[in-house]
Subunit: 151 residues, 2 copies
Amino acid sequence: MSDNEDAPAPVPSPHGTQAWINLMRAQQRVLALIERDLKAAGLPGLGWYDVLWELSRAHGGRLRPFEIEERTLLAQYNLSRLIDRLEREGLVERQVFDDDGRGRWVLITEKGRALRSTMWDVYAKAIAKHVGARLPDAGAAQLADLLSRLL
Amino acid sequence: MSDNEDAPAPVPSPHGTQAWINLMRAQQRVLALIERDLKAAGLPGLGWYDVLWELSRAHGGRLRPFEIEERTLLAQYNLSRLIDRLEREGLVERQVFDDDGRGRWVLITEKGRALRSTMWDVYAKAIAKHVGARLPDAGAAQLADLLSRLL
DNA sequence: TACTAATACATGCAATTGCATCTAAATAGT
DNA sequence: ACTATTTAGATGCAATTGCATGTATTAGTA
């Protein structure tokens, strides 16, 4: 035996490798374009959007930090500081969580909801421009499906 | 008229949006897994790999910084400092570029080639495990093709 | 030639990230 | 109840990133 792994083939197929490279490049490229559009509109980046979005659609407009963490894939220490920044801007508030003295609620404010909505106007157009316009709708659906298998 | 953009539809289709979300998530997730494997093997991250790879396949094992920049999508100031770090580790060398006093060559060393090769052993297995094993080869090919349209 | 703009790369400084660790509070084991 | 573990979240510090700008050199233009 030439390898000590268990099931999966140890060498990636050329197609698998190409898929990975394109995944990296496409994401970097489109992300940069979308962030550029947001910045050009004087708006914060997608990190802020993601948190505000999860909060705004959560029941009661609030979540525990660890719940946001799960939904956004942000690292715990990054999220903790991101919440600091959001709080400083009045977009969210931290509240005590009575059932567990360690816990906090993070509650989105009206200002936070308004900003998320404004951001979506720009974000949605950016997605349409940088993704939708480059792929027929059926292709987008197929892409979404293939990518979902990596999740 | 309700919009000031030119050709593309201003609102993304649900499929386009889903494709974008999955693109972000899949890339984040797989990237994190691959970086974890590299770190577990005591190796540097993909940023180093990308530069070493471009250099090792370039004619004469050397490129100008701006050429690396184009090939890797690294920002100019980030690349400049990344080269500093690579140079400190003896993986590359900076040389003067005689035809243009502003320019530099970045030359990969034997040590740099060796490290890239070692990294590839781990990287290739990680791609196989985190991408190849989740997608049939035909699916990977299709994914690569769809993503290439975003590039 | 002298002057202005553009190109190639580097760097000071502030903001963000990653890592390790810390505190406080809840749970588990005895 | 008492100690050890685990969990939620925060934080000090070093490394990296982003932004703006700096330096040197070449190209363009009057």
